[in-house]
Symmetry: D2
Subunit: 434 residues, 4 copies
């Protein structure tokens, strides 16, 4: 996601009723996520990378209207100008409005946006009652994954907006007190070299940037058993990590100085102790929790600090092969990464949920990649430069949204997502021939 | 007004009941001005020079609470943080929040701000029922003039915000169709040289920057009988006024090129005809109406184009001496400058109301000027650099707010106020001795 | 001078031989000022406000070529493109090249520029041998005053460039050790209110912005007997002057924070003591010397700090009326302001030379002002906005360049000129009638 | 090269006399490249990415002094401050001066820099006469490759500086008239899928970012037989390539609009025909020549326009395997890319020399990469983000500098290098298992 994103069905599948039920459920979830917020909160755009809650509500609806309903003969758009106004970045559909202006659109009001949602929902559910073309089903499926991406963005954008207000209000009350836990010590899982298959293949949904499934030669590597914790990050800070240029990529160091970074985003020192903004308000930093809201630059510098590196996408996907997709997702209601807890499997912990893991891999096309034809070709393909891939989902990602092949992406300076890191390192291996 | 501003009573006066009635009336007017707007509209900050409607509602209330109520023993502030949050620019009262962040404050909500207004109104009216110290009466008077300044800013800021939205919605419906009129031809009033008195003196209210009354030598001059019209401005445009560097001050020309100015703010060409944004929506430019939303640089260039110049403050105030303070003010409900109509007086038309008139005079202290002691000393004094004086009030200024000595001020590039111009020129006169 | 500037003869005068001698002398002085510099030094443009030495050498020559020689029948320009290349800001003569690019013009080389100077000098001296039209003499006179302005700018620009180099090399060796002196204590000269004549009138040269001579009413005032010293400025710094927003104009305070100003330009603290860059290298700050390289904002803040204010132009010119134009000018070779020394006159000290004195007056047209017709109308007129007037000349101004009516001007943030301040305050006086 | 760069000897080799001869030859070449330029030309820094010629002369010398001579007991640095002044970006060696300030260093003069070069050359040649440690030999080898990188940068930086001057002077006269040729039609070379070895291995020199040699799985692909020509680029321009957002990466399109790109850097339209700046002056664009001075964004958009893509590094290196390293390098004296000429080999043309070829690959560490220990670890490693790899060398690269594994790198927006493109496309291949 450069910010938003989407997907295209590779192959059809689900019978319509199930799809309709999933449609209703996912659409209702988006609305539910807004309930703690007032109309004025939902108007805020705290930086140009973020969007107002109200815009997310409208744009996800626009997606269904534009790519499905407007293809239907006789469909009347809800509003003559919404097609233009809520276009995010699809130049194929006209010149999109300037992104940074979204916070200036007090009209339509929140009530009108909800009416828009209901209008589109009714039309779409009516459409789904009829025997639908596979293409329509695929487009609905895509729209639902798109909506789930925006559910996550809605929460990260709200968190950023609430942080900019001097009051630092909580988005929601804390679900339950966090009981102190012992983090399992970091250990290393070893993976041998070999030719691996990577990317999505199968009957289910995937985005175009996960395809095609292809081979890649992966050298022997080791992967850390869990995410880096806030406690470990504090050691980095205390050791002068943010003041030592030798740990940083050149562009990262320039940014550290320009922005005066000295801790992850949302951290604040008060009388010698660190607090950070969470969706449940300002709270003391818990050393056992995974660190998050760090940029790729910070993740990379930390890895160098401890003599390790970030894993590549291919390494991560190789390691994720045998791990069950389960963890601390949006549905847990925790809204923050949780400390790692040992389980009875032998694989790495926290591979899914909690926080996105920066990889060492830029967002590039898989070999043989073909963007979708038509406007949806703009969904991912044009963001294949200056973006780094993140893997594994976060505490605000819907569980049903993730796949092992899922590729999230953000620029290396981005910090407002729930982004963390897992260490990797080379394993002994022969690089040179003979 | 650098943007906001205020005033200090020079001398007391009005018996409390009358003051209380005026208090209620002016405070109610502010609320009434917001009625066409929804909560989300009132949240918008479309540029850092402008403020959200909701902020104006809160800040004007803050002014009464901070400078009057909080001086009263036992007064409980409505909210512990409003004192800090709604401070505009008074460093004496603590470090004011960054101006450009006002649009990010979704909290307090509009409802809470109205509750704040009611709380302060009740406390203040209760206070006014008691025999009040003259100082309190003076402070109330100042607060009312401050509130009136913000009524004007509220409307100009809303106009700017509505213009930034692609829909260009009207703030209010047009009161009545504008009937075509004949503009009286421009003629010149002559004023002889002499030593003049300038500035405010008397029992009524004035801001500190209008004082003291002092002498100034004014050379013989001529003043135009009315404001420059949009029709005349179109001639300037058609003659290449915006493309000829020789007409412009150096800083103005740099801005013309940087911002690609080719017409007043809010003007747009559609199929060869000019329309402009008004508070009643997009409307064709009416040639007979005064041009407005021009910067000082544009006003100065236009004057040079026609071989004239802008009047100085002293000239304007000299000419205004015999003119009745009446005209197209906020109370007319027109919300836009109106064409000049000949009257039976022999003085210049449109001296008051319609649109502010840029003068050739920077906002400097009058000789003998003393800023008010205490925090209110920050009201005007620190804006005495890089600001030009405007005179005469506009169609969104409350009539009771104006005086002949009233000095409004904005930077020479500002365009979002109802700013226009009146021409002046030298009259024959002896400059050199003997 | 917005940076450069010029002048127009008001009335002719000098017989040609004398003018030719002055021409040769002033032109030779410019060349002599460059002698301590190498070709590479003369190429530097350390900020867009400053110009390379080589450019000053060429532009002053261009001035004579453009405004005199190119009017002569049969004159062959030295180079076909110099007319365009060395135009500073005269739009009447074509689109001037971007000012900030001057440092990129390695061609023509310094040698070629000197050849250009010789070519123009020869042609001009030949022209002056003939009976010249008064207009030509006036233009030569103007060109010489223009050249003298650039002599000063050349030195201030070189100082800035040398300061940007880590080595802080001296432009010239120090002429003589500065012997410690006792600064006379600051006292106040009183001037009564009255109608005064101001501006230039007479047979000699003046710039258009000094004219016409006109009347102005000046209220009673007091003027300090000398410039503010570096020692006094240190007290301001130690009292937190740079950290107290209440002392500053609003725009000044914004700049203090943005630029982290904590001392005059060129000052640096080393082990608790202050040093500053001078044209003779880094030297300890001498408390008895006038402070310089302060902006208008700083001068204004200092004046407020001590309960005084800056004088207006009219006050300064009134006070200068009886003072002899003599002092520490370029010819002294000191290249830095000198401590005040009591003399046997009863007037204020240091009115001329040492350092320019910021006044409280913006650079506005005198009443009845008319810019010169033709291209020279761009010399001063278009800089009559956002500029403050400085008076009195400096240690790098040629003595013969100054007049009592001389108006130098720079934006309020400018610091790289030798700019200082003298205090003023109101004297008892009646402001209100009756 | 982020701008500069370096290398570390992987294995020793050459006997000292040969190395000394190469040292003398390469150092002399650098000096020779400056001969067409005057001292003032060599002072210019036309943008912060570029450096003055004089700086290149000094910094390459600094490299030998810092990494070799200063390790020798008893060596006296030529100047006490050059160690700090001419440090490019090695934080291990202290805080490097701001890159954008290099153009402000008129001192040391060009003469002094040449004296510095002679001083270091003498000391180094003396050192090489003695039996040297292998480490010293390796460091000399690295310094020579470093110097060759700067020879190329010196020429591209000078080209940029001369272009910024309105006169567009040539760096050198054109060696010989370009005779019109017929460009061979573009055809495609096919390469099958397979596991390939990539990276440097062997006794000769390589930079650390070319190592280690490692395996990579390369899918079947096709590679164009020559570079894209200026004639083909004109078709792209005429077809609206610079105005169609659907052809561009998102960041590229933002830049096209912000910078108003409508042609490669250095192109200018004059009366309907295109000219461009070359090192031999402004010349008509020759359709048969390879296009150059295009950014990665433009190269990528062009490839999309013709339904192709850029090759990956691994593809390029695979294809280069059997191609002789020969072509239009610095030694040809042409100083500009030349049209492709068919030869009798069966491989792709123009793989080496003429112009760097943008690849689709970001500059990432090879698997198993280890930066050099010590300060030289900063040479390449910290530029492994936001940079794209270019391959094959250019018309200003010394022939002896290139290798098949050589990785040049610049940010995707950079245009001032001799950067061009070669097309690639997928070949039929099975991506999914089974």
């Amino acid at each position: 996601m450069a910010s938003v994103s989407s997907a295209f069905l590779h192959a059809g599948g689900q019978p319509p009723p199930a799809l309709a039920r999933r449609y209703q459920s996912i659409r209702a979830t988006t609305v539910r996520l807004c309930q703690p917020l007032r109309a004025e909160d939902q108007q805020l755009q705290s930086m140009s990378d973020a969007s107002p809650t109200k815009w997310h509500l409208a744009h996800t609806t626009w997606f269904f209207e534009m790519f499905i309903l407007s293809q239907q003969p006789g469909y009347q758009p809800f509003h003559p100008d919404f097609g233009r106004l809520f276009n995010s970045y699809y130049h194929s559909l006209g010149n999109p409005p300037a992104r940074a202006e979204r916070g200036l659109w007090s009209r339509p009001s929140l009530d009108e946006v909800h009416a828009y949602r209901r209008h589109v929902d009714e039309a779409l559910l009516r459409l789904m009652e009829q025997p639908a073309a596979p293409q329509t089903e695929q487009a609905v499926e895509l729209g639902l994954h798109h909506e789930q991406q925006h559910q996550e963005l809605l929460l990260t954008d709200v968190k950023h907006a609430l942080f900019r207000h001097p009051w630092r209000q909580a988005y929601a009350p804390q679900a339950a007190p966090v009981s102190p836990v012992q983090t399992p010590p970091l250990c290393w899982h070893r993976f041998p070299e070999g030719l691996r298959w990577m990317g999505h293949d199968g009957p289910g949904f995937s985005f175009d940037n996960e395809r095609p499934r292809h081979r890649v030669f992966v050298h022997a590597f080791q992967l850390a058993s869990r995410l880096v914790t806030s406690g470990e990050w504090l050691e980095f800070m205390r050791a002068g990590g943010y003041r030592n240029p030798l740990l940083w990529l050149s562009d990262g160091w320039a940014l550290v100085q320009q922005e005066n970074w000295s801790a992850p985003l949302y951290w604040e020192e008060r009388d010698g102790a660190f607090f950070h903004m969470t969706l449940t308000g300002m709270r003391p930093v818990v050393p056992q929790e995974p660190v998050c809201h760090v940029s790729f630059y910070e993740a990379d510098a930390y890895a160098r600090f401890v003599g390790a590196r970030l894993p590549t996408e291919a390494e991560w996907e190789t390691a994720a092969g045998g791990v069950l997709i389960a963890g601390n997702f949006q549905e847990s209601g925790r809204l923050h990464p949780a400390p790692a807890v040992s389980d009875d499997t032998s694989g790495p912990l926290q591979m899914f949920g909690d926080a996105w893991e920066w990889t060492a891999s830029p967002h590039l096309p898989h070999p043989g990649y073909r963007p979708e034809p038509g406007p949806l070709g703009e969904y991912n393909a044009k963001f294949m430069c200056n973006q780094m891939v993140l893997r594994g989902g976060s505490c605000v990602t819907p569980a049903s949204h993730l796949r092992r092949s899922y590729r999230n992406f953000f620029p290396p300076h981005a910090r407002w997502q729930f982004s963390s890191l897992r260490l990797a390192r080379d394993d002994a291996g022969s690089y040179n021939p003979e």
